[in-house]
């Protein structure tokens, strides 16, 4: 305020004093109105969840889950969260991680904090996890504190036991090196080797012949031909060869599929014509003239020869 002009008369002074008072009130009112017209800073809503607040002992882990709701335009400043390490003399932060969800104009943060207690107590004692400052960035900086949290800590050593009587727990003796995993692996490798060696031997000795359809068909055909050859024997011989072809093809093999059969099994390519001839014979024998005697142009010896050749081709297949 400017000092009064000495020229002011005594009559003017009360008027000036009143005017000055009115001006001050007006300015105050204007400031108040301007302040109330500004949008209020949003308040984050914080909920703290912990498993329990009693019965903790030395070395226990305490898990806190903070659920914080802020307007969607604000984002958690994660660099402001505590880092794993000692928080104070007796409390460590083991981990601090967070997830966020957005929707309905809100951002919801779930902050999971794991503490570890290293406080030595002689009797049940109250301890306190300090308040956790949180900061959010957005249109403005928003700061909030997760509330401090009180819990009960219990001693592990009986409070009545004098210090001299406490028996320190012994050092850990060395542990023998485990041999069981090595033994397991040796047995597995040995079993695998034996199985593989057995398979190789069976291949070499021809034990897998039973699995060869043409070889089997040839053996049965030879047995069949020991007796007199009747039309029925002939038909049986043709059926044997059909069965071997079906087994090799992995399903019923029809005349029209001979080409594809030979393409997928190149070993049989050189007897393609023979196979086509065989299917023509089969068609005639079973469908065109089922009552006719064994065809003279396809003697059973030819059938036997075809079967033998097929067995030879079959051995070439790896």
């Amino acid at each position: 305020m400017a000092p009064l002009n000495p020229a002011d008369t005594a009559a003017q002074r009360p008027f000036l004093r009143a005017a000055r008072g009115r001006c001050g009130g007006l300015i105050g009112l204007m400031l108040f109105l301007a302040g109330s017209a500004l949008p209020a800073a949003p308040e984050p809503r914080i909920e703290l969840a912990a498993t329990r607040d009693y019965g903790y002992v030395m070395g226990d882990l305490i898990e806190h889950t903070l659920t914080v709701r802020v307007p969607e335009s604000f984002a958690l400043e994660t660099g402001f969260l505590p880092r794993p390490g000692a928080l104070d003399e007796w409390l460590d932060v083991r981990s601090a991680d967070w997830t966020s969800e957005r929707g309905n104009g809100d951002a919801r943060y779930r902050i999971r904090l794991v503490y570890q207690v290293f406080k030595g107590v002689r009797g049940p004692e109250k301890a306190r996890v300090p308040a956790l400052p949180l900061r959010f960035t957005g249109p403005s900086t928003l700061e909030a504190n997760a509330p401090e949290w009180e819990f009960t800590l219990m001693p592990l050593i009986s409070p009545q036991l004098p210090d001299e009587a406490v028996a320190i727990r012994d050092a850990l003796s060395p542990e023998p090196i485990a041999t069981a995993p090595h033994w397991h692996r040796v047995w597995i490798y040995l079993a695998g080797s034996l199985a593989l060696a057995g398979w190789l031997i069976s291949q070499r000795l021809g034990w897998s012949r039973r699995a060869r359809p043409f070889a089997r068909a040839y053996r049965e055909l030879k047995k069949l031909l020991h007796g007199p050859v009747s039309p029925e024997t002939y038909r049986s011989a043709v059926k044997l060869l059909h069965r071997a072809l079906d087994e090799t093809a992995g399903g019923t093999l029809f005349a029209g599929q001979v080409e594809r059969f030979c393409e997928s099994r190149p070993a049989f390519t050189e007897i393609r014509e023979e196979l086509v001839g065989f299917f023509t014979l089969s068609q005639r024998l079973f469908f065109t003239a089922p009552e006719a005697p064994a065809p003279a142009d396809y003697p059973i010896a030819r059938l036997e020869s075809l079967c033998r050749r097929c067995a030879a081709m079959e051995r070439r297949v790896p």
């Binding site: 030395m58 070395g59 107590v121 210090d163 727990r169 060395p174």
Partner: protein
């Protein structure tokens, strides 16, 4: 697929697989031989010679045996070489044994001399606490480490009283004790 299967069935591949399996058997047999030899040494640690390639468990066994025979300094040195080696469980065991070794020394001194050996007890207890805390960080369910750590806190000597200020001056104002502008200053 069929081609791949037929390739796998070829004798060359079969022999290759067989060779790998035999190599596996040879490797595991050697590992078994070494483990059995090391286990014999663990049972009789006096015969352990510490070198650059000595197995961690053998060094641990030697340190444990040395501590039992009363040579705590050598045991501390040996455990010290293991602090950052091995997996978490192994390191927790090393930290626990190291902390317990310091704690035993501290407890003997504390119970025998009390605050007369304030500095030594305090140093030993601080080392014990540090190692036991680390053991618990690595393995929180280590109950013996919890127990020993709580005991370490119990025998932690109370903090010393601060020495009284021995300022004898008689200045008229606190500002008179502040250093003046250094010479040559503006």
């Amino acid at each position: 697929m069929g081609q791949m299967m037929s390739r796998l069935r070829s004798p060359a591949w079969t022999w290759a697989i067989l060779a790998v399996l035999w190599a596996g058997i040879a490797y595991e047999s050697y590992a078994l031989y070494r483990a059995s030899r090391d286990n014999r040494l663990i049972a009789a640690p006096a015969g352990i010679e510490i070198g650059d390639s000595t197995a961690l468990e053998l060094i641990f066994a030697k340190a444990y045996d040395t501590a039992r025979n009363g040579d705590r300094q050598e045991a501390l040195r040996l455990y010290g070489t293991l602090l950052h080696r091995g997996d978490e469980r192994f390191r927790a065991r090393v930290r626990y044994n190291l902390g317990t070794l310091y704690l035993r020394d501290a407890a003997e001194l504390w119970n025998a001399k009390g605050v007369l050996e304030y500095v030594r007890v305090n140093t030993l207890v601080a080392s014990a606490k540090e190692n036991l805390r680390e053991a618990l960080r690595l393995q929180p369910d280590h109950w013996n480490a919890r127990y020993n750590l709580e005991y370490a806190y119990r025998i932690t000597p109370p903090p010393k009283e601060k020495p009284k200020a021995d300022f004898q001056g008689s200045k008229g104002s606190v500002f008179a004790t502040l250093p003046s502008t250094p010479g040559g200053g503006p």
